[in-house]
Amino acid sequence: MKKTTKALTGLVAIAMAASIVQAGDANKIVVDGSTTVGPIAKAFAEYYMGKHPEVNITVSESGSGNGAKSLINAACDVATMSRPMKNSEKKAAQDAGVLVIEQIVAMDGIAVVVHPSNPLANLTIEQIRDIYSGKIKNWKDLGGPNLPIVGISRDTNSGTYESFETLVLKGAKIAGNVEYVGSNGAIRQRVLSTPAAVGYVGLAFIEGVKALKVNGIEVTPETVTSKKYPVARPLYMYTNGRPKQATPLCDFINLSATPEGKKIIEDTGFVPVK
């Protein structure tokens, strides 16, 4: 068994070495970073490779911080990040001779949704946090009907969860009775069928359910792009230097500005940048 393991490790090592050698290849793009931006990058890669079969794009999701690290170490061509690069990271990049170029690919706006029968129209960020951390347990505490709140969250796997954690929870921990589901669509379905439910979804998934105002601001693509809506943030792709025109890397990065790219971004539940 040891021998087999060794042989396998050897094979993997060879494969990895081969991939590193290929990193300089213009037809090979390595993308690494945020799990939030990952779905966009993956959808872009799928779309782009469908049109250009000779190009090979690999997308990994190891977190924004790891994305920045890989870009600085020249282990990837594109770092996807759900937060802007920190000064310390920029400094490290400068020291390594990497010129980081920032591009906002999409906006991430999270709508807080309830059942259409729920009379509530507005919640503050603090109230949402209190609901999810278990401090507010009944809708009547918020001026609604006398029903115990059924909080529904995305699974901790998802980028939407990560955004919600950073933008709303801010360190507060989700209470034990909050339910977890596997997709934006599943949250919408659960909220639609549960009068006492509250959930949060990407902007593409608010059809049929009632999206609440947060801090008095309605969630629309406009308020998200203008950053008025509080539960929103830009998503970034970083490259080493401005990509040369007409290379696959340049096309890939600029997909977000094309109509097809915008469609893909909307389909993955984010808001394209105007």
Binding site: I174, N177, R190
Partner: protein
Amino acid sequence: MDAKTKSAALRDRDMPSLLLSHVARRRQRIAAIFGNGFLLTVTSLSTLAVLFIFYFIARDALPFFQLEGFMEFFTSTKWYPSAETAEFGALAIFAGSGLVTLGAILVAVPLGIAAAICLSDVLPFAVRQVVKPVIEILAAIPSVAYGFFALVVLAPLLQQSGGPILGVAVWIVGAPLAALATAVLADLATDKLPDRARSQARWALILSLGAGTILLLTLAGRALTGLHISSGTNALNVSIILGIMALPTVVSVSEDALQAVGRELREGSYALGATRAETLMKAVLPAAGSGILAAVILGVMRAIGETMVVWMASGNATQIPHPWYNFLEPVRTLTATIAGDMGEADQVTGSARYHALFAMALCLLLFSFICNLSSEWIIRRARRKVGG
């Protein structure tokens, strides 16, 4: 030619074809070696697969205990694997798995054993030939279809009219049980009385016990009807679905066990003057007992290992319900946690979060391993006992 020479001639002509030439014999031996070797490889491949699974899961699970220790994992209910200072308390998740498995047992075992007895000893043979395959079709439905049903049909139904449904269910389940218990209890209690007093005392007892249980059932039914279920994706929903999923296993295996008891035992019992009920309760069921226990264990394994249904319909809330037997609250199970968290767990850097999932997988694996071994042992013991 007399008969003797004729047979000799026949033998001379036929014998050579029965005896193989050296070449043919060698060819046959080589073919046998290759054939056996091939079969051995195929067989050992599946055995090796089991060993490999054990090895690789244990290899990735043990680092978790080295990193985080045992205490938190088994005693804390705080499961925040993605928080900045991650917490890996899996007690609530173990409890969730236990609760839905218990619920599935409560649904599948009485139904399954009753169905098995009906199939093997009560229903006519022709009916059995139709009903058993239909029950086994339940096993062929993909679990995602069950999950979809639980999420889209059962959950909203429980939310809208869960209370009344439970109220009716209490009567459907409780009334026959209460009637049976009343009759048996009255019978047992008055058995020792002298003949004349017995029948009167029995009726008095049946009436008073019956009135008591009807009152109790009414109270319970009314209390349950008033219940409001705020979230339909809860332990009850999943227990019902898992119970139905485990049903074919329980029915099939216990029916086989009842069949294995054999005609002789039943006929012997009838010959002694026992009624059909007495034969069933006092001869057939005790003889098939270990087989039925094995069926229950197999059903439990089906329920505890199920992933898709619980991930879709259990709510996945990391909590121990208050009180612990409150089936109306959402729970999270081991399998759902592994399935749901795997994508995020970083296998490259080998974080504690990644290894935590393997630690859960190892616990599940050990549990089903123990279950499997014990059911195997029970079945073997039963076979020896029945075989004499």
